[in-house]
């Protein structure tokens, strides 16, 4: 596969947390094609979130080489991050959080603006994504007053509003009901794949994996234990 067709390329990458002698992930080598959906699975503490944060350049890797969307990390980390959408695992906000839900979603666009305020077009885009997820009626509510599932959808909306080239989802279904999980895995993510978005999804629960998944990477104790290629991928 041509190197320019890869969204993420990791070559013997290890990441350490400050003060730790043992790396959180060790010698990870992966090639993730553009426009594919990769599932990252494994038990608690196996390094799934560390891997996502290393790919975003939020955690500095010590060994190896990382290329994301054609740019080498950590040198071009800012450039890469601006083309990514990220749904973190710890998304819950306290009840008295002084931000409206729509403001939180709009921040996904504001982060990419050099100067000034959001324009009317930007707000239209925010509402478009909120409607897509069926949460537009919650837009004016304080984010902390929403339920866990609603907050998770808002954070997903924030990641999607950026129209990312690379979408990193950390346990995206952890607080959602079954209908929402089904809609996201069967409709929303496949649509984004069709539009050329590359998706990396960390999940415990593989029962709701989209049918279009291309790779399944199993991590154990910070190492890649198994990589499964989906031959039944509809667009393969």
């Amino acid at each position: 596969m041509g190197e320019n067709r890869l969204a993420v390329k990791l070559d013997r990458v290890s990441t350490y947390y400050f003060g730790e002698r043992r790396p959180a992930i060790t010698d990870i080598s992966l090639k993730i094609p553009r426009g594919s959906l990769t599932l990252i699975i494994g038990p608690n503490g196996s390094g799934k979130t560390t891997l996502l944060e290393t790919i975003l350049g939020l955690l500095a890797h010590k060994g190896g080489r990382i290329e994301v969307l054609g740019h080498e990390l950590p040198r071009h980390a800012m450039k890469v991050r601006r083309r990514c959408g990220y749904l973190p695992q710890d998304f819950m906000r306290p009840k008295d959080e002084p931000f409206l839900a729509k403001e939180v979603v709009a921040m996904g666009l504001a982060s990419n603006r050099d100067l000034g305020r959001l324009r009317d077009d930007d707000w239209r885009r925010v509402y478009e994504v909120l409607e897509l997820l069926g949460i537009e009626k919650l837009a004016e509510k304080p984010i902390g007053k929403l339920s866990g599932g609603q907050q998770q959808k808002m954070m997903l909306a924030r990641a999607l509003v950026r129209s990312p080239d690379l979408l990193l989802l950390d346990e995206p279904f952890s607080a959602m009901d079954e209908a929402s999980r089904r809609f996201i895995s069967e409709d929303l993510l496949p649509d984004h794949l069709e539009n050329g978005c590359t998706i990396l999804m960390v999940s415990h629960d593989v029962a709701f994996k989209p049918r279009e998944w291309g790779l399944m990477v199993r991590l154990e104790q910070g190492r890649v234990k198994e990589v499964v290629v989906n031959d039944l991928k509809p667009n393969a």
Binding site: F18, R82, L100, M107, R113
Partner: protein, 264 residues
């Protein structure tokens, strides 16, 4: 008198705004470090027989610039670095005052540094404050999208490509400069109360962060005006009077908020 009220309102408003932002960013302790840097600089100037303000300003600005990078380099929480510097500056202040020639602790110059003074308000000081307010507003307006994103969740903002360190250092430096100029009125020991009491008061009345920042600015301005009027009429140290004014507003708002909560 009018100059003093205008300067007090401006300084109070700036402190309220910077305080609300620093509180949200959990940077409260930087105010301690920066205020005491100015205090130490002024005390060292007295020891050297120089004009106290200049070195105070320089040391405060230097502190606001180095706090972030030191914490990052040494991988220490910003709070820890701030409190460490705060202690060092306190020690330097007292050593300098004790070693200064003459009855320094009772002198007017030291009093101005420690407790603040209305006499510090000159037309040029007013112009500096106005320029500082314009600069602060301009920076916030220009970068509001990213600053707001950092105020919500700095880690997520970083994941989206916002240069969190740059904006945090910029806000810290501006807060540092505001503190330096405000402490000419309130004094080094009390300037942080003007930063954080209006911010605490705004929590009682506003649910959104934007409103909290604006409310804190207004309360800061009113506290300063009240304090200056009190100081003029009772001939008491102005810094202390401003704190009393701010605390009175806080108490009233906290009471109203408690009553409202009980009723609703």
């Amino acid at each position: 008198m009018l100059n003093s009220l205008a300067a007090g309102a401006l300084a109070g408003s700036l402190c309220g705004c910077a305080g609300a932002i620093c509180s949200r960013m959990r940077l409260s302790t930087i105010a301690f470090a920066i205020a005491h840097a100015a205090l130490a600089g002024s005390a060292i100037s007295l020891l050297l027989g120089q004009e106290p303000i200049l070195l105070g300003i320089l040391l405060a600005i230097l502190t606001s610039l180095i706090l972030g990078p030191i914490s990052d380099r040494l991988r220490m929480p910003l709070d820890t670095t701030s409190m460490m510097l705060f202690s060092i500056y306190n020690a330097l202040t007292f050593i300098s005052l004790v070693l200064s020639p003459g009855p320094t602790l009772a002198s007017e110059k030291v009093g101005r540094i420690l407790w603040g003074s209305i006499l510090a308000v000159t037309p040029s000081y007013l112009i500096v404050l106005l320029s500082l307010a314009a600069l602060y507003l301009l920076v916030l307006r220009m970068f509001w999208g990213r600053v707001y994103s950092i105020l919500f969740d700095s880690r997520l903002a970083e994941a989206e490509g916002v240069n969190v360190k740059l904006y945090t250092y910029m806000l810290m430096t501006l807060a540092g400069v505001i503190i330096v100029f405000a402490l000419r009125i309130t004094g080094g020991f009390l300037v942080f109360s003007l930063l954080f009491i209006p911010s605490a008061s705004s929590l009682q009345v506003s649910e959104s962060l934007k409103k909290r920042i604006m409310t804190a600015s207004i309360i800061g301005a009113i506290s300063s005006i009240l304090g200056i009027l009190l100081s003029f009429s009772l001939n008491l140290p102005v810094g202390s009077c401003i704190v009393i004014g701010a605390a009175a507003i806080f108490s009233i708002l906290a009471l109203i908020s408690a009553v409202k909560r009980r009723i609703w």
